[in-house]
């Protein structure tokens, strides 16, 4: 025998087992897997033995109590046999748990029956060895508690098994088995604990084994019981299917109530869970039922009610600019020639100090005002590039005298306007006429060659010429020239019709789009009108130390909303002082709201930028997700999250933060200083031009 022979497979003779799992026996190895397998096997075997190979005590019990029926009467025996068999199975399952307590009770009864047993032993009436036979005397309180617990759990096991079986009705076998095993595991564990207590066991390994075996047995039992139900169902369903084809299928005509199949998904489980907590499912307001006449309407329309003749308080959105209050056409100022225009050109104001090096010494910078003054004079007839000038400058037109705007009643769907209706009818007539034309029936391909229209004289192929002749007959024009003229006219009409129809469709589409944008713009306007109010409310909450009241805040916000966006940014970021007495926080509050709107549309640059502003108050200490989530705008959220995450940085990084940022700034500054001498590459020139060419 070698030193490592023990490690070789099959080096030891296999331990012979006798049971249903013999075939599964594997060479014995030391290890977790084999240990687990051994336990499972032992559990199964023990479980099986409980029914097939009962203990002597159980056999005695069955012999004494079960066969109520007279053995001599075969008829009664046959009738009662199933009951006796089921009772046998039940008692074999339950008795192992009930017997310890029954023994205790029997012992106690025995002792009490004899009366004064201790005295009798003392007097020598009963031999002391007799006490050894009374097991209950050796038990302490915990052992007896264990016996009682076993009995209780055994009885409870019955109802548990019943519940488990009931619950398995609606499940598949696999799920039922696993769930049954899971649900009965605690019962098994408790039973094991009761067994341990009953036996007074203190060896931790034995305790673990008892607990494990008991739990595994219960799981197996639970799984099998619960799994049996669907398995039986499955078998009966298969049997039923054999007869199903014989049934007459009645087609379902219609069902007034849709029958939805319940699909088990995380969302459905979540919905079920919510429903179990008493929450009603969320209903989209758009899908809520329409309240019919007579019923009071819930005013959910955010649009303000605008009365006839009243100028609505509205704002107009311009790209890259803050919403501006809407000014009716008749209130627009008339700009006279030579008058200085307000600087709303959108062209940035460039300070000489910013880029002095780009101008050669003999050139001076002329403010844009000096050019815009002559705007109207720039359009010069007969000059070389009038169209260029027209395109470069969009001259400001004098506002026409117009009537006060009529308030458009709110529409809910697009209606084709009258002018379109007329055109549509005209097109329909033209289409019909073209369709009815005899030329329409001719094969157009015969008159086309490589995209060109060919005439009868051009045709060299006799077959084609014959067909063309035939076409003439079809149309009823004998003269080839006339045929040609008429045919050409038809083709032109048709081409024109196609073009007109295309244009018409586009016009309708545009009208629809403009209707949509009109509706959207009205909604925006309604929202904007309450913007100042909203921001003022937020300010009241965010800046409790602000000395202004809400109304004043609102007025200030309205002024800020009219300012140039860049100016607001400069003030809000603390780069410029506010000169009109409106506090910086008001600018900041406005900017945050604009940043929010932009971020929701996907442009986050402003939100990110203003989250670095020092104008706003410092973030509070309580920077948990719930508190941060209560912030009214995303810029504050970004700021708070950053502070929160910064707090988690290692101390050494936190301490060195300012120094590192200064170093980064200096390095960028150094890098940017070189741009004065940077030689522009062709790519840079093209890119620079690309930015300033008309789109």
């Amino acid at each position: 025998m070698g030193l490592y022979d023990d490690l070789k497979p099959n080096s030891q003779p296999q331990q012979k087992t006798s049971g249903m799992f013999d075939d599964l026996a594997v060479p014995k190895k030391e290890g977790i897997a084999s240990s687990v397998f051994g336990t499972v096997k032992a559990t199964g075997q023990g479980f099986l033995d409980m029914f097939t190979n009962p203990s002597e005590a159980q056999k005695a019990y069955e012999a004494n109590y079960l066969p109520y029926a007279p053995k001599s009467n075969p008829i009664i025996r046959a009738i009662t046999a199933p009951g006796v068999a089921s009772m046998r199975v039940t008692t074999r399952l339950l008795n192992s748990g009930l017997m310890p307590l029954a023994d205790d009770v029997a012992n106690i009864y025995e002792v009490s029956r004899k009366g004064g047993i201790a005295d009798q032993v003392k007097e020598g009436k009963i031999p002391a060895s007799y006490l050894d036979d009374i097991a209950v005397l050796k038990k302490n309180g915990y052992n007896i508690t264990g016996d009682v617990a076993q009995a209780v759990l055994s009885l409870y096991g019955g109802s548990a098994v019943k519940n488990v079986a009931k619950a398995g009705v609606k499940e598949g076998f696999k799920k039922a088995f696993v769930t049954g095993a899971k649900e009965t595991a605690p019962v098994g564990l408790l039973f094991g604990a009761a067994q341990v207590a009953s036996e007074g066991e203190t060896d931790i390994k034995k305790i673990a084994t008892t607990l494990g075996v008991s739990t595994a047995t219960a799981m197996l039992l639970g799984g099998m019981v619960r799994g049996t139900v669907p398995a039986t169902k499955s078998v009966s369903a298969k049997i039923a299917k054999l007869f199903e084809e014989k049934k007459i299928k009645v087609p379902v005509v219609s069902e007034s109530v849709p029958s939805n199949i319940k699909v088990n998904t995380p969302n459905s489980r979540y919905s079920d869970y919510r429903a179990s907590q008493g929450y009603e499912p969320y209903v989209d307001p758009n899908t809520l039922p329409v309240i019919e006449g007579g019923a009071p309407l819930v005013d959910k329309n955010p649009l303000p009610t605008v009365k006839q003749g009243e100028n609505p308080k509205v704002f107009v959105n311009y790209p890259e600019r803050l919403p501006e209050p809407y000014i009716p056409q008749d209130k627009l100022p008339t700009i006279e020639m030579g008058e200085k225009l307000p600087d709303k050109s959108g062209l940035p104001t460039i300070q000489m100090n910013d880029i002095p090096e780009v101008f050669p010494g003999d050139m001076t910078y002329h403010p844009i005002d000096s050019i815009t003054k002559t705007t109207s004079g720039i359009v010069r007839a007969g000059k070389q590039a009038p169209e260029l000038i027209q395109q470069i400058y969009n001259p400001i037109k004098k506002s026409p005298e117009v009537a006060p705007p009529k308030v458009r009643p709110t529409k809910t769907s697009f209606e084709v306007p009258d002018e379109f209706q007329q055109k549509k009818t005209e097109l329909e007539i033209r289409k019909e006429a073209l369709n009815q034309s005899p030329f329409n029936k001719l094969d157009a391909r015969r008159y086309q060659k490589e995209g060109d229209i060919r005439e009868l004289g051009d045709v060299t192929n006799k077959k084609v010429a014959d067909k063309m002749q035939n076409d003439m007959g079809e149309v009823g024009i004998e003269d080839a020239t006339k045929f040609q003229e008429e045919h050409t006219k038809f083709r032109e009409n048709k081409a024109q019709f196609i073009q007109d129809e295309k244009i018409f469709k586009q016009e309708v589409q545009n009208a629809k789009s403009s209707f949509k944008s009109e509706v959207a713009s009205l909604e925006d306007v309604a929202k904007q009108s309450s913007l100042a109010d909203d921001i003022a409310t937020q300010m009241e909450k965010d800046y409790p130390n602000n000395s202004f009241d809400r109304q004043t805040n609102k007025q200030q916000i309205e002024v800020v909303l009219k300012k140039d966006r860049d100016e607001i940014i400069q003030i809000a970021m603390g780069n410029k002082k506010s000169t009109d007495g409106i506090p910086e926080v008001a600018h900041y509050a406005v900017l945050k709201n604009i940043a929010d709107q932009e971020a929701a549309k996907g442009d986050i640059s402003l939100a990110r930028e203003i989250s670095y502003s020092n104008v706003d108050r410092k973030a509070g200490q309580n920077l948990q997700a719930a508190n941060i989530a209560m912030k009214d705008n995303v810029s504050d959220i970004i700021k708070d999250v950053r502070i929160k995450m910064e707090d988690n940085l290692p101390t050494r990084v936190k301490k060195g933060k300012d120094v590192e940022i200064s170093r980064i700034k200096k390095t960028i500054n150094d890098a940017l200083k070189g741009i004065e001498d940077m030689k522009p590459t062709r790519e840079m020139i093209i890119s620079a031009l690309e930015k300033i060419k008309c789109k």
Partner: protein
């Protein structure tokens, strides 16, 4: 009004602008524009500005390519961010603009920035909450409008959680891997060998002090019932019972993390749909916070057994925060009714919240609040210690609103009397230590056990013992009494403190030992090494220390009890421990 160059003139202008001399360029532009010098100047200026911006972004791109500590993705993001800002402002970068860029570079390097997608999602959800807010404001708690708002609010919380805890979505190994990767990168980035060694030691320290050991220790039980829940049970048994019932939901669903997540989400929505949610947050009530006993979710990611940790964490959170919210609603309403108002003054609401936090194990650290991170590295839970001392100190806190102070006085009296009553009741059946000079004070012996005792005071006993012993010792030193200050929990022998005898305890020792007993798991392990023995008097070993750190407290106590006690006693002890009635096995000291 804006200026631009029409497409058909681009080629001509391109020819001209490629001339490096501004003077020549201007002259040729003048020709194109029919001698209009002003227009030529304008176009020249426009071009030069555009070129300058282009040069600037090129220079910035180069700078970004050459800086250290940025990932490829970060570099791309920084360039994009710069370009967007430049386009938006259409101006050369200002000094303050440089500040912002520098800070953004720093933030991206240390992952402090929110991902762009998260910002967009946040903005959308935020927009929705703002739209829903006016609809729910006048509705009662748990109304559909409030629930709709709360769902969006919780969605924001979830986005934020995902951002703040960057490893939230990763599995256990991936999280460990990511953290190891970060540590490795930090070490690698150090230039000298010495610095690398120092960084390695710092990383080892971080691992040793990792908060995960706390989470593991506090898991696998429902000790919140009688430990953190003791005060709530005394103050309002109905709320306590309801909250315990709710808190058991995750434990019932221990097999499914998904179900546990749903339960937690539902709980958060329920909290947020309370009418007083805003007031609760504004007042600093401990809702939506991370509980100190579960500072990290790392252990929850461990396959299979992670479910147990997660269930413990969520149960604890639901109990603590659900109880706080319910009590806040009740007290807020009662106080407002008594005062005849609908809304309480913010300071009064804050005081109420402070008291409730304290009553549920989340004491206010006061001036040390901003040091909570450090304190939690030292102690298992600094707020829990504070909340225990608050039972004795809050009734005398004159800074509180008189209404709240009165509530605190009543509550402390109720707690102390209920503990006394429990001790008295238990003494009818078993041994109960009532001498506050013994560390066994407030504990009852489990009937039938050798020496296994259950704490009936919910942890208050140790504070009473410390106060009694030190007061008596100092009083005796001052000659005010002849009583011996200490009673041995093992032998029952009475001894003096500050006796001056060699080896005898001093008041200083009392406080040091008391503090040592409250330390965080890692520090506690270190102290055992410094002392040369663990709490059972054995020599500490590495295997034992590691095993201690990664074993939850209640199963560990159960295992230890089994060494000295019979199974049933140990089992009873385990059940008691698991519900917050801590056990002490004095048998192990007698060996």
């Amino acid at each position: 009004m804006s200026i631009c160059i029409p497409q058909n003139y681009i080629d001509a202008v391109k020819e001209v602008v490629s001339n490096p001399s501004s003077k020549d360029r201007l002259s040729k532009l003048k020709d194109i524009f029919n001698g209009d010098e002003k227009l030529a100047r304008e176009i020249n200026l426009l071009y030069e500005k555009s070129l300058l911006l282009k040069k600037q972004s090129t220079a910035f791109d180069k700078f970004i390519d050459n800086i250290n500590g940025q990932t490829v993705k970060n570099r791309a993001k920084l360039k994009e961010s710069f370009l967007k800002n430049q386009e938006r402002k259409n101006a050369i970068i200002s000094d303050s603009g440089l500040d912002e860029i520098s800070r953004e570079i720093f933030d991206r390097k240390y992952k402090l920035d929110l991902p762009d997608e998260a910002i967009v999602e946040l903005a959308k959800a935020n927009k929705k909450t703002r739209e829903l807010k006016p609809l729910m404001e006048k509705t009662p708690s748990d109304s559909p409008e409030r629930i709709a708002w709360a769902e969006e609010h919780v969605k924001i919380q979830e986005i934020l959680d995902g951002v703040i805890n960057v490893n939230n979505d990763k599995g256990f190994l991936a999280t460990i891997g990511a953290q190891a990767g970060d540590a490795w990168n930090r070490i690698k980035s150090k230039e000298t060998l010495l610095n690398k060694a120092v960084e390695t030691l710092k990383t080892a320290k971080d691992i040793a002090l990792a908060p995960v050991y706390k989470s593991i220790g506090a898991s696998v039980d429902a000790s919140f019932m009688f430990r953190q829940g003791r005060n709530l049970l005394v103050e309002d048994p109905k709320i306590w019972a309801k909250t315990v019932q709710e808190a058991f939901k995750p434990i019932k669903n221990i097999t499914s993390k998904t179900q546990q997540d749903l339960i937690l989400r539902e709980f958060k929505i329920k909290l947020a749909s309370s009418k007083l949610y805003q007031e609760a947050l504004d007042s600093g009530l401990g809702v939506g916070v991370i509980e100190e006993f579960f500072p990290t979710s790392l252990a929850e990611k461990i396959p299979v057994i992670g479910n147990t940790f997660k269930a413990s964490d969520i149960s604890f959170t639901m109990f603590a925060q659900g109880g706080r919210m319910s009590l806040f609603e009740k007290l807020y309403k009662n106080t407002a009714d008594n005062l005849g108002v609908t809304k309480l003054e913010p300071q009064l609401a804050k005081d109420i919240a402070t008291r409730i936090n304290s009553a549920s194990g989340r004491g206010n650290l006061g001036r040390f609040e901003n040091q909570s991170g450090f304190l939690n590295k030292v102690f298992y839970s600094a707020r829990w210690i504070k909340s225990q001392t608050d039972v004795f100190t809050m009734p005398f806190n004159g800074n509180l609103d008189p209404i709240v102070q009165r509530q605190a006085q009543i509550q402390s009296a109720k707690i102390i009397s209920s503990v006394g009553a429990t001790m008295f009741f238990a003494s009818m059946f078993t041994d109960v230590e009532s001498d506050p000079r013994s560390s066994k004070f407030g504990k009852a012996k489990i009937p039938g056990s050798k020496d296994l005792w259950v704490d009936l005071t919910g942890g208050l006993g140790s504070y009473i013992v410390l106060a009694t012993k030190s007061t008596l010792a100092l009083a005796k030193s001052a000659g005010l009494t002849d009583m011996k200050a200490s009673k041995s929990a093992i032998s029952g022998k009475l001894t003096d403190i500050n006796s001056g005898k060699f080896g005898s305890d001093t008041v200083f020792d009392l406080f040091v030992n008391f503090g040592a007993g409250k330390t965080a798991p890692s520090l506690s392990a270190l102290i055992q090494y410094f002392r040369g023995q663990d709490y059972s008097g054995n020599k500490p070993t590495v295997a034992g220390t590691v095993s201690n750190l990664i074993t939850p407290i209640s199963p560990k106590n159960f295992y230890e009890s089994l060494q000295d006690e019979d199974f049933v006693s140990a089992l009873i002890g385990w059940v008691a421990d698991s519900t917050g009635l801590s056990t002490a096995n004095y048998g192990k000291y007698k060996k």
